[in-house]
Amino acid sequence: MGSENTVEEQGTDTPGARSLRLGVAGPVGTGKSSVIAALCRALSEEMRIGVVTNDIYTDEDARFLKAEGVLPEERIRAVETGACPHTAIRDDVTMNLLAVEDLEQDFAPLDIVLVESGGDNLTATFSPSLVDAQLFVLDVAGGGDVARKGGPGIGRADLVVVNKVDLADHVGVDVPQMVDDATRAREGAPVLALSGKRWGTVEQLCEWVRGLHRRHLSGTHVPTDPGPMAPHFHADEEGGYLHSHV
């Protein structure tokens, strides 16, 4: 009799039967919280949204979003990650998973739960056991060559966002070139130049999310794992070696 319960519980985990879980990752300071705020602001009329934030220190990001007033406060939950933001979205997702499941249960039915990773480095990506899809947020201020460097997030996230393009002139970055580099690193997968100050770009992001949500509902979206840390190069006296972390 217990096994039936187990099956039932697994049933709620079938994509399409529950909300779309969308992760937002990317290095520190690239504007993950702002991207989420923009999405909530633009989509809250048409979609029921919940947000889980992950912070290195306490609940700063949750407070930012609450202060923005883009969602009712109770739909924004903070998870404290014990100084290990990448662990909370990849190696040990239990805290985030429970936060997502709680939101889905408390505000059923939700259309989307956005999970914001704590700012980390280029190699941090979400585990497919936590999210159905993920955005990877870069910004022009991080330098135009970041996109070229690749890594699992840039290479294989469902969407790469190049944020703060309104600052490009100030930091001497060629946006079309950066988008081009990213697109090449992603073998043609989508890249979006975004500025919270340019309504049209926010609308493009929303359109992408809407499309993803439709595919999620119809069961045609197949979650893909960007994968763990990509093989990378360590310099040493002998000229370096290539290895991969498992």
Partner: protein, 235 residues
């Protein structure tokens, strides 16, 4: 007896994805308030923790494990209900032994996370019928029984976590040599074994007779920690 070693290692491994890594067991507040300044202090801190909350938690984990071991997979429905009732009584008794609201919250959150992880890692019919956010030692003891472990295993595991959590957190909190931090655990192993044996010996006691060792400074540290805006660890 050769049973269960592998199950215990799985359950007590700090890398088991059940959220434990986000907690320092009160150490962050102890370092911030200057109560722990070096590895010698860490050793004292861990000793105090093991002999108070550690010993209490170990006894409750052992008792929860014993409660479940009575009810095997082929248990009668009545027996199963008895087991659940006993787990619920243990949970209430442990709440009464945890005066700090912050520590009660942490224990229930960790218990819930552990139960959530074990549902996926080692499914068992009782997991769905248990209270979903039990105190961590209750979840740990029940989880231990579901892995075929004994009360003394459950006690050992909980004690190990109560000292290994702060020990691995310490390098993020102060200038400490990780080897020194783990040496303090090595030096405590005799004491930990003794506490675990004692806890297991009480696994079948009436829940109200289980230990209730208080640790006032740990309570204060936990409450103080919650008021801090900037913190690395959740507790």
């Amino acid at each position: 007896m050769t049973h269960g070693t592998a199950g215990l290692l799985l359950l007590a491994d700090g890398r088991l994805p059940a959220g434990g890594y986000a907690h320092s067991g009160g150490l962050e507040a102890a370092v911030r308030t200057g109560r722990v300044r070096d590895t010698a202090d860490l050793g004292r801190f861990l000793t105090g923790r093991a002999t108070t909350t550690g010993a209490t938690n170990a006894a409750f984990a052992a008792a929860a494990c014993a409660a479940l071991r009575g009810a095997g997979a082929d248990a009668e429905p009545g027996e199963e209900q008895q087991t659940l009732t006993r787990l619920a009584v243990l949970d209430t008794e442990l709440d009464a032994r945890t005066p700090s609201p912050a520590l009660r919250r942490v224990s229930h959150a960790l218990g819930r996370q552990l139960l959530r992880a074990l549902k996926a890692v080692n499914p068992h019919p009782l997991q769905q019928r248990m209270q979903q956010g039990p105190n961590h030692p209750v979840a740990f003891g029940a989880g231990a029984a579901m892995l075929g472990l004994t009360p003394v295993d459950a006690a050992r595991g909980v004690l190990h976590e109560s000292v290994s959590g702060p020990s691995s957190a310490v390098v993020k909190l102060m200038s400490a040599d990780p080897f020194d931090a783990y040496r303090t655990i090595a030096e405590l192993r005799g004491l930990l074994d003794e506490i675990a044996e004692d806890a297991a010996g009480r696994a079948l006691d009436h829940p109200e007779d289980l230990p209730s060792y208080g640790a006032p400074l740990s309570d204060h540290l936990a409450e103080d920690h919650e008021t801090h805006e900037t913190r690395l660890f959740a507790s």
